[in-house]
């Protein structure tokens, strides 16, 4: 009995200490904790950028096809990159909301177009992935979904 009481008492002390530690951590938590989506909420109006390894003069005549195809859904600006890095290609959505662009989530469409525009300017074409013949399983479904959107935004 004595041992059991001691064990219960020790357990209670441990729980109390753990609870106090958690309260202390939460009290010092960054302000973003607990907010929907954390601190990394997407800002749809933010400028997105890629750097293209080509001189700015080559791009001033017109942005590469994949970005031009988004039309007035995006605003585009060019800027000389520092050093020998080429040209910064910046773009942002002109409309708020979640209306799809060409059937895609607007931010995904924008990021994907920037990546493809860079390839067209640097290489001359967009690299086609190998066609997949892999088998669909419940275990690989999350990876399939991730791959489906893997041309879009990547930062967690």
């Amino acid at each position: 009995m004595g041992i059991r009481r001691a064990a219960v008492a020790a357990g209670s002390v441990a729980v109390a200490a753990g609870s106090a530690a958690i309260k202390k951590v939460l009290a010092r938590a960054p302000s973003g904790w607990g907010a929907p989506g954390g601190t990394a909420q997407k800002d749809p109006q933010r400028w997105r950028a890629v750097t293209v390894n080509r001189p700015i003069q080559e791009l001033e005549g017109g942005v590469p096809g994949p970005l031009a195809e988004l039309g007035d859904a995006v605003e585009v600006r060019l800027q000389q990159a520092p050093g020998d890095k080429g040209t910064e290609l910046h773009a942002r959505l002109t409309r708020t909301g979640h209306d799809p662009i060409n059937g895609q989530d607007p931010l995904e469409a924008l990021r994907s177009a920037l990546r493809k525009a860079k390839q067209v300017a640097e290489v001359g074409y967009v690299l086609e992935p190998d066609p997949t013949a892999t088998k669909r399983t419940p275990l690989n479904e999350p990876l399939r979904q991730a791959t489906k959107h893997a041309g879009g935004e990547g930062r967690l």
Binding site: K85, R111, P131, T132, K135, A150
Partner: protein, 391 residues
């Protein structure tokens, strides 16, 4: 065609897979003549890099014959015998122009996956999971080679298939460790791991003028092969105090350059191995960095540590204090093979770089699952298993 596919954790099978097609004007189609296992494949097969799908074709080190060329290809013709760099790089982006080919901005069609993992995506790699582009692997009868003018290299007539095969990945990876590790004449260099990459890193250090090169492993047959074919000193870490030996063999200074060629599934006789293994198996850490810790701890003050072994995520008990307080330079990369392969083929032709002994087991592709078992379990003194498609 036939291909070796991943069918689940530690499960492989040779199955019918679709023939590759020219999809971009810079592509060639290669008939694979030789393709070889790599230690980093084991991380994929074992599920430690969880981006494989059932049916993915493995393999990234290979050579073969060009059988079809895209309309923009200038450097290759049908019938060329070429070795292909395992990393897929466009040759045009800023990284490629600065010879950081494995960092290519354009070679990975799934950039958002590695961006989430690592901040920015590396280039693509054949047969190396969907995080690295989902590219078809070389353990198959045929393979598509994108950006072929940059990634495929004609093999000189004087270099055999058996030797040139290792110019695809193991030799340039090893060379990069010594080159970017800044090995100089007079240096003492320690290399962790006597697999193909470790042996070829040791050989590269010797060719770059190192005074003394010491390779470390636990398998006697690998140590003997390193002594015999590479010509450097060796240490068995299960039979000797590696730190003490390295210190005294370098006059009490410690090696100038420490090259880690082991990767995320390292072993150790220390109690720390049990700790790492438990955390690894419970997926509380993704990688076991035993050899990296040793390389950092034993490197001389102001020296360089190069991490050649493949790591995928996060490690525990990383000795950042030693890095900082000893003023170490820590360097790492996936291989920038494009910058080294032509030079390595020339060295192979001059017999300065020999690799045939690494191919301890050669077999038809149909026996590839067995080849991986022999390779993984280090049965029958295996260093690498080589597969012959169509055989």
């Amino acid at each position: 065609m036939k291909g070796l596919v991943w069918t689940g954790v530690n499960e492989l099978a040779v199955e019918d897979v679709p023939d590759p097609q020219i999809q971009n004007p810079g592509d060639v189609i290669l008939k694979v003549s030789r393709t070889v296992t790599c230690g980093s494949d084991l991380h994929l097969i074992g599920g430690y890099i969880p981006f494989m799908r059932k049916g993915d074709v493995l393999g990234h080190e290979f050579l073969g014959e060009v059988v079809e060329v895209g309309p923009d290809v200038r450097n290759h013709r049908v019938g060329d015998r070429v070795v292909v760099c395992s990393f897929i790089a466009c040759g045009s982006c800023w990284y490629c122009k600065h010879e950081l080919y494995s960092c290519c901005d354009n070679g990975n069609p799934n950039p958002a996956i590695p961006e989430g993992l690592w901040g920015f995506p590396p280039g693509g790699c054949y047969g190396y999971s969907h995080a690295m582009g989902g590219w078809g692997g070389s353990h198959a009868d045929y393979i598509r080679v994108p950006y072929a003018d940059h990634g495929a290299f004609r093999v000189p007539d004087g270099v055999s298939d058996e030797r040139a095969l290792f110019a695809s990945d193991a030799a340039p990876t090893g060379w990069m460790g010594a080159d970017l590790g800044n090995v100089k004449p007079g240096d003492v260099v320690a290399v962790w791991g006597c697999g193909a990459v470790g042996q070829l890193a040791a050989r590269a250090a010797m060719l770059l003028g190192a005074e003394r090169v010491i390779a470390i492993d636990r398998f006697d047959y690998r140590l003997r092969a390193t002594e015999q074919h590479i010509g450097c000193e060796t240490l068995n870490y299960e039979q000797t105090d590696v730190g003490a030996e390295l210190r005294e063999r370098s006059g009490g200074r410690g090696p100038d350059v420490c090259i880690e060629a082991v990767g995320m599934e390292a072993h150790s006789p220390d109690p720390s191995y049990g700790y790492d293994q438990i955390k690894h198996q419970l997926r509380l850490q993704t990688d076991r960095p035993t050899a990296v810790r040793q390389a950092i701890y034993n490197c001389r003050k102001g020296g360089t540590v190069f991490v050649l072994g493949v790591f995928g995520g996060f490690v525990d008990k990383f000795p950042l204090g030693a890095v900082m307080n000893k003023g170490l330079t820590l360097h790492s990369a996936q291989q920038h093979g494009h910058r080294y392969i032509p030079m390595l083929l020339e060295r192979m032709e001059r017999d300065e770089l020999v690799t045939e002994h690494l191919a301890t087991h050669t077999m038809p592709l149909s026996e590839a699952p067995k080849g991986y078992k022999v390779f993984k379990d280090k049965e029958d003194n295996c260093i690498r298993s080589v597969f012959l498609p169509g055989g």
